[in-house]
């Protein structure tokens, strides 16, 4: 048992060390990054490093952009997939149901790279290049979300909606008043997954934004890395810390429901 404990602790350390080291370097003065042996205690330069990184690539604006699009996309995906899953599970069969379900599933097979040129052309035709619409609207549909909620709705006893129906509640009232409060865990889990997905998106913002004030924080990291001959690691890591704290906070706040919804799925 002790051996297992030591092994697990060692493995955990290996997994977490890179993040801790990034934080450590973000607190050092430029010349202290290069000393040997490496400094193991945090220095006092974090605020200064962050300020310089902030000014160099307009980090504040980039963080706000990333947060904005990640929240909007996560909420958009939640709304659309709740509506779609509700239509699939709580109505008598309607013509085209299977076809529409397959269309939503098909999104799994169409990641951005397999349609990148025409999607970009479309943004151009819409006049959406370098706009917030381009960074959000194309992401609103979610097969993952639709499947997640459909699966969850199917576990809810039909007696519940039957009772609502007998009491004269319409479908939308049932959805908002009864179903959504029961879905809090799944709503949180999907928000987490989609927030992280959008916060971490790189390729699409790279091609669809053209001005500095529309960039997202992931591209900002690249701009920090790319600007100098000798990498100013303390500065870059200050940017990295700024880019990884918001998703970590969201993860810490919501991971219970994420882990919960995984075990829910595995049990069936």
């Amino acid at each position: 048992m002790l051996a297992a404990h030591v092994l697990l602790a060692a493995a955990t350390l290996v997994i977490v060390f890179p993040m801790l080291y990034a934080v450590q370097v973000s607190t050092l003065e430029f010349q202290d990054v290069f000393v040997f042996p490496p400094k193991l205690l945090p220095g006092g330069a974090f605020a200064d490093n962050l300020r310089r990184a902030w000014e160099k690539v307009h980090l504040g604006r980039l963080l706000a952009n990333s947060a904005g699009i990640a929240v909007v996309v996560a909420l958009g995906k939640i709304c659309l997939s709740v509506m779609a899953a509700f239509a699939f599970t709580y109505f008598r069969d309607f013509p085209g149901k299977t076809l529409l379900f397959l269309a939503i599933l098909a999104t799994h097979m169409l990641p951005l790279p397999v349609r990148i040129v025409p999607t970009f052309q479309l943004m151009h035709d819409f006049g959406w290049v370098n706009s917030y619409q381009a960074l959000t609207v194309p992401f609103f549909a979610s097969a993952t979300g639709t499947l997640l909620f459909r699966q969850f709705f199917l576990t809810i006893p039909p007696a519940l909606s039957e009772a609502a129906r007998v009491d004269g509640a319409g479908p939308l009232r049932f959805l908002v008043r009864i179903l959504l409060p029961l879905s809090v865990n799944n709503l949180a889990a999907l928000f987490l997954v989609e927030f992280l997905y959008m916060w971490n998106e790189y390729l699409w913002p790279l091609i669809v934004t053209t001005s500095d004030e529309m960039r997202v924080v992931q591209i900002g990291i690249k701009m920090l890395v790319a600007t100098d001959a000798q990498a100013e690691w303390n500065l870059i890591m200050a940017g990295v810390v700024a880019a990884m704290v918001p998703p970590l906070v969201v993860l810490l706040a919501l991971q219970r429901s994420f882990v919960g919804s995984i075990s829910l799925g595995q049990e069936k």
Binding site: T12, I15, L80, L122, A141, N200, Y202, Q218, L252
Partner: protein, 293 residues
Amino acid sequence: MEGRFPGRILPYALLFPSIAVIAVFLLVPAVEALRLSFFEVSPFTGRGTFVGLANFRELVRSDIYRGSLSVTLLFAVGVVALGLAGSLAVAVLASLRLPGFGVYRTVLLWPYALSPAVAGTIWALLFDPSTGPVTVLLRAVTGLSPNWMMNGTYALAVTVVAATWKMLGFNIVFFLAGLQAVPQELREAAQVDGAGAVRVFWRITFPILSPVTFFLFVMNSLYAFFEVFGLIDVMTQGGPGGATEILVYRLYQDAFIAARWGIASAQSILLFVMVGALTLLQFRLAGRRVVYA
């Protein structure tokens, strides 16, 4: 039909936003990509000339494209093998429910929150040829001090390590959930029958885990193929000499640097064939055994 609402219009109205987004931003562009793949598009006028299968023929014959394909396969094999083996090992340890289990589980998930670009930047720091801890450690032990990013094999290995690390948390959480589904009685019964821990793992735990393993195999493959553009862009930009130029990076170069939209679309179609094969495989097995959130 108990508990279902009547309604002719409402279900369509509820589905309309999803279907509209999918049609406009996914299905139509995908079909358009197929059409464009048969054209040579001028970067200057934007006008297309029908060339049949010439784009595909050029790709199949191109050393650069074939090189990029083998880099991608090597990269994916590395990420999937290293990632699944490593995270399964950690998950099995964590599933022993040692004291402090909750802390481990929280911390192990952290890298999942990071982007491939951030993961790449951190690992570029760790492997920095002069000050990176990995380099320093290696120099202290062996006296060698390789310039990782100048050597194709090393550069590919370093990007694989970075990409694998980012997925470990995700994999571990799914393996842990799967391990909880393995009946304790079954393991104990096998132990009573004299099976050792290793035997119990391979004969009982591993087969019961196979749906999770397969699900993670597909997810990690899709990740390695399609989601590591940022990591490559930050760490190596495909270099040195194309040694880390995965297919999506090549596609980006042809589409948005060289503006060769016809041949870029042909690459999209080839990628679609690959993602299609992986997804169909997933659905075939998912229908039977694998259920995931």
